[in-house]
Symmetry: C2
Subunit: 123 residues, 2 copies
Amino acid sequence: MGLPLRKSKVAPPPGCPLSEVLTLLRGAWAPNVIWQLSGEPRRFGELRHDIPRISARVLSARLRELESRGLVTRRVLDTSPPSAEYSLTPLGRELLPAIDALAGVGRKLIAEWETYGRLVRAR
Amino acid sequence: MGLPLRKSKVAPPPGCPLSEVLTLLRGAWAPNVIWQLSGEPRRFGELRHDIPRISARVLSARLRELESRGLVTRRVLDTSPPSAEYSLTPLGRELLPAIDALAGVGRKLIAEWETYGRLVRAR
DNA sequence: GAATGCGGTAACCCGGCGGTTACCGCATTT
DNA sequence: AAATGCGGTAACCGCCGGGTTACCGCATTC
């Protein structure tokens, strides 16, 4: 016989908060950009240089996304040719511990995959 | 004059760990699936029911992904028609604190967006 | 015997994301 | 005068991720 459905006890949506913040990290290169900004402010060209395979198009997109969500500030420098400097806002910095936590799990995942031969094929 | 390039001081890649774990969370509905599994084990139909708009195709894909990475176990129950039960592995459970941290930031983000009228348009 | 519910899988299709290329104005360099 | 570097943007384009639909075998229910 089939089993009766058990109703979920956890809150209906994970709350959008998780999804919201994941949309920010989901775009290509987003984590790398944030990571690069975790230290000193960096200019567009520096970011391009430090994330070698990123395209200007996407870098620009990511930065403007993050800026519009209040995680990153853009400051135009009075140089010529004009250059721009990006840095994390305090709000943006709050992501760092969470990112560290994720990275920690990532390390464990990788270690585990290596010890017990990798069954991983998918993806 | 243009500024001289400053070289990045942070490790070249964020280490793949972050990227690795984000690939797991990046697929549609992945966070919701994990969240639902954070309590008791759940069956396929229950998951479909509790994540109303997910399609069977994607639910199946996410579960097999997570299983192949060692985050989820699948147990076939001896009932008829046969049913399957999914639960988080210990490794999978390690994600939960990190996810909580992200959700925490998510809540702050949302709060902030609401207090200071939302400039958010993108995405 | 037909319909229903279980746990999926296969095929099709469409939109959007991201890579590539070309181009912008401006100031310095050659 | 031409080329270079800065910080981008616009247009084009291909791919694949996810939604939709159809279908599977099996056992119980009507």
